[in-house]
Amino acid sequence: MTASLHLTDVSRTHEGAPTPVFTGLELHVASGAAIAILGPSGSGKTTILRLIAGLDTPDTGDIRINGASVLARPPEQRGIAMLAQRPRLFPHMSVLDNVAFGPLMTGAPRREARRQAEQYLDLVQLPGLARRRPSTLSGGQQQRVALARALAASPAVLLLDEPFSALDPSLRADMHQLLLELRALLQPTIVLVTHDHQEAVLLADTIAVLIDGQLQQQGTARQLYEQPASITVSRFLGCLNEIPGKLVSGCHVSALGHFPVPQAEHMPDGPATLVIRQEAVRLVDPTSTAATVIGWVERMVSLGARSLVEVATTTGPLFAEAPPGQIFGSGDMVGMVFPTEQCVLLPDPVMCRGVRGSALLAGRRSNPGSRSRHLAPESTWAER
């Protein structure tokens, strides 16, 4: 079972709150598609799921599932199921009865509901646990049962609210794989809410970036990373390099000099920020003719196999990811290569030089999903 989902002009202000969670929200998901709503904590992601589920009511706008408005329908009649961060299994029922709950509530006889539940337990690879109580299962097993319980209700739309964020990395990877397999098999429409970029990229066809109640951009992971719609999106996705300047006849002019950007030929002249992801920047010998910018290594932070190199330049600090084996010492002179096709010009006005630096650092601190990991305290300085 699968269905299209449309949210049109949806607004919601929580009772007593001074500002709305969001206004005029538009979200369209094709039948059988998976969309990830990616955003920091408090951006209103969960509220969207609660509105779709019927656990909360929008102030304005419409929510349609398979073309029909569901606003007047209670949660149990919307054809949805929700999987939250915590499994919230019914502690007084066996694992089998937990999974059979959905079919039973939709009118299946108990024997039939249990038979279906067994099939779903097989699907989530937990066939031997049917008679156990939820309290005797591990966290990962409980979340698998919760997934089986949600799927057994045959939802047209499956709502996932940061479902794997409480699991350890290896369990999370297992659950991602399981969800991908189940998706291929059952093809429900999926709305996933997460603050984890990797999870969104892995599980969803399209990603909608929600920041401060505004849907900033919606597109495939590639579109988001290669063509962020704004500085806000670029920053949220972890891009560290922002070079303020202006666009003059398809050329970005900044403290670094003139930098031709072919894809900006059709953009009008005016203030523009050049954005390039640190992963796209190559570090070369400063004498190399390929070097776009020359600077001095400030510090090098280990990211595991790769390292993040901070380079002091005339426009302020810029960042590049160095591959394994490329090691620099503090004060080394390096050349930075900006592949033209990876550069993005954004018309957002950026604050003046010094303020931008501190804003960037503040962003790193307040945004655990992206930049903070680069300067995590446990990171070690690389020494030559």
Binding site: E76, R88, R133
Partner: protein, 284 residues
């Protein structure tokens, strides 16, 4: 073991023994009297054993008093448990104005002397021509509500309503959520609260006497009449033992049931049953 720890253990053990003696000691003469045919001063123990006290109690109408008390206890539990649960739910999850004042009002029967409530209620009920049985049920319910509300509030404090939302999204109608999720999950607390309400009805004296207008001869009324009138200690003792036995049996049964439940609930995230039973000593 350090001397301090040793002293601590001795003090703890001493306190436990003293408390046990303090609780058990008053019961000893009652139990002895209930099984005594004759026991005169200066003998330390009854001279003759027998169940003449029980026989006298039965002849005195103990059986019907027993039934009356039982009905009164069940009625109080049946009324005060759902009322307390609903009040607790509203106070925990509802948006209620003057929540503190309402909580205080619900607790009033505990700290206002019962006869004050009874005298006021009696006049009002008589004026309103409310039958005494209905009046008795209503007033007993009011006196039991503080206990049931208190127990259910602590249960709701650790109750995650998210689980009900999950049930709704899985297709459950609100009534199904109530019957299949909320009541089973709160069964421990509901049992504890029903037990307390039963005790209020079972052991009440003042309200039954005044509001019931002498129509309801319960065990406490029978015991009080026998204790103040006959001078037959064996009869009074037999009645007292009879009055104490049903609640104790009920407590033991609930304890066994709760232990049985806790076998599969031990790790479950529902601390309410565990949090409640220590209140009445049913789940050590």
């Amino acid at each position: 073991m350090s001397p301090r720890t040793r002293i601590g253990r001795v003090v703890a053990l001493g306190s436990q023994v003293s408390l046990s003696v303090w609780f058990v000691l008053p019961l000893v003469p009652v139990l002895l009297w209930a099984a005594a045919r004759s026991w005169t001063f200066p003998h330390a123990l009854p001279e003759e054993w027998g169940l003449s006290g029980a026989a006298a109690a039965l002849a005195d109408g103990a059986a019907s008093a027993f039934v009356s008390s039982f009905i009164l206890g069940l009625m109080t539990a049946a009324l005060a448990t759902p009322a307390g649960a609903m009040a607790a739910y509203a106070l925990t999850f509802g948006r209620i104005r003057h929540e503190r004042r309402i909580s205080l009002l619900l607790l009033a029967p505990v700290f206002v002397p019962p006869f004050v409530i009874v005298m006021g209620a009696n006049v009002a009920l008589l004026r309103l021509h409310v039958p005494s049985s209905v009046g008795l049920a209503l007033v007993l319910m009011v006196t039991a509500i503080p206990y049931t509300t208190f127990v259910m509030r602590s249960a709701f404090a650790s109750y995650d309503t998210g689980i009900e939302e999950d049930a709704r999204t899985l297709g459950a109608h609100p009534l199904h959520v109530l019957l299949r999720i909320r009541i089973p999950m709160l069964s421990g607390a509901l049992t504890a609260s029903a037990f307390l309400a039963f005790l209020v009805g079972w052991s009440d004296y003042v309200i039954t006497l005044l509001i019931g207008g002498g129509q309801f001869v319960t065990v406490p009324i029978r015991v009080a009449a026998a204790a103040s009138g006959t001078g037959n200690e064996a009869l009074v003792a037999a009645l007292s033992v009879a009055a104490a036995a049903p609640p104790l049996l009920l407590l033991l049964t609930l304890n066994v049931m709760s232990r049985h439940r806790s076998l599969w609930r031990r790790k479950a995230a529902e601390p309410q049953a565990a949090a409640i039973f220590p209140l009445i000593g049913a789940n050590s």
